[in-house]
Subunit: 351 residues, 2 copies
Amino acid sequence: MSPELLLAPRVLAVASHDSSSNVGNKVAVFVLQSLGFDVAALNTVQFSNHTGYRQWTGTRATAQEITDLYAGLKQSYLDDFDMMLSGYIPGAEGVTAVGNIAKGLKDKFRHVPGKFFWVLDPVMGDNGKLYVAPEVVPAYKALLPYADLILPNQFEAEQLSDVKIVDMDSLTQAIQVLHEKFHIPHIIITSVSFTTPSHPPSHLSVVGSTMTSDRRARPFKITFPSIDCYFCGTGDMFGALITSRVREAVEAVPGLRSRESWLSEDGVAATELPLARAAEKVLASMHEVLAKTRDAMPAVMERTWASLGGEADRGDEKKAHYVKSKAAELQLVTNLDSLRSPTTTFTATRI
Amino acid sequence: MSPELLLAPRVLAVASHDSSSNVGNKVAVFVLQSLGFDVAALNTVQFSNHTGYRQWTGTRATAQEITDLYAGLKQSYLDDFDMMLSGYIPGAEGVTAVGNIAKGLKDKFRHVPGKFFWVLDPVMGDNGKLYVAPEVVPAYKALLPYADLILPNQFEAEQLSDVKIVDMDSLTQAIQVLHEKFHIPHIIITSVSFTTPSHPPSHLSVVGSTMTSDRRARPFKITFPSIDCYFCGTGDMFGALITSRVREAVEAVPGLRSRESWLSEDGVAATELPLARAAEKVLASMHEVLAKTRDAMPAVMERTWASLGGEADRGDEKKAHYVKSKAAELQLVTNLDSLRSPTTTFTATRI
């Protein structure tokens, strides 16, 4: 038996770390571990909680600290990663430092096709607004040719492709540009916010594509009911789940995991792509965890108010915001089954 | 239904964090999450790997950074913890800062007996040697009256009790001192290294006790086969498992969880203590994980050498040390079942 069969695949997870918030690496590490990965975590920030609370304490890692920490792994041969998932990184220099790690890993394993796979979530903004410095955008653009799978939301896809996305046609065009110009093998646009006849306002879609050998897009779409509540950490949960599920789906196709960037044969249709299989499963887990988080919110809020005792003034808007933010933290540990074996079904369709 | 029944208990885990080593919070957070806890992680160091590799990179959190991070949690009402587990803290000031967090939580919940429970692992040294600065010892001593359960090894128990431990009599005496002088309700000495007729050299013991209302020790012992291999992170795994299992064992006794420090009635015999039940289960999980880690070591070493490719000089002692250190990293994610529902059985006996 190959020794690899016995062992957990190794993944490097690069993202923020908050003490008490289920976002960033707090989510990614647990989800990846739950799905059987040996995870090395490189934390880009150390905050008390996520910034949606509008107040937090803690420190950011400098680009130099990121580089040093990785050099430490490398010198003890701890850099034999099978995958890397990168999420939020503060500042352009940090993005470049993380990119150098990924480039180093690509180079280290250049003689073993399919050995190393980088999932890049280019966290930059949402809903028409950047929440990073403008120089972060070109820093990400420079790294795109090294990524195997990118996970931009609609706004981030616009920033990277320079295509304004207003409908399914322009979205498909943006994907085509990302495949063609940056040679990105796999793309998933994680939230699509325009409405179409087949995509009513109560629903959301993700759109994905794996390019052909001549870099043509093979776009598919998965539509699912939206849960009307503002959660943080959903992008990080998506990233961790897709990292695991894409590997699983690729392993189900004989020989595919030893092809460069796990690129399916040209004859494989969009809806038959391992990326589509993976995304279906990811959305099933996401939907279950989000629904259960929403259902638990009143109980979590009640518990927090109760713990405040005499301090509790439920009419105080600021306090209510903290209590509500906390109740919206993803309920992960109580929903391990939804992460590992979701029962919900969503199906990819052609565009 | 009480809302608490629906929700994961909240635990604050304070320990080191290494990117790629299964020690400190890397172990504790995953183990606690696997057992259904909502974990807030406060990382006291950020290293690339554990120091057993003899080389590492990264930074230590200052006492002020620890205090600030916790203040951040507090201001957003994220400090409604049910339990706290504290492990390695660099320096006496850091120990005092962490102690202040625990004291604050004790005070916050002083009107709700049994609500908050602090598991303190006073990490200071082993095998007759301190590996922290000497001023850390009195810093821990000052905190002992606030702890609910402490987890010293034999050497640390000597440091805290000022009793030289050479046999079961002196060990029991040390426990008696810790109960009496520092009012510590529950104690487990996590590794006992002297040999006795009932404790052959191929075996190890842990010794625990829950004090009576007049602070008499109720010592029990659990003996288990030792696995001849040097693992790191076993103390952190023990701490996380006992945190979960002691709560579970206490919940099995009607009314006990709302008693101050979860102290059993005086009539309960040593071997019937919830602490004994908890420790039995913890050792079962530990034994299974360690045995499986040892069994996987050759495959992990082979994988690392293979990944080094041309670089590999297997005769190089330094390289061999890194490769072996890595292979001895606890195999946690592949052994979730052993953490959650171990099948091995160990039984507590009277001393």
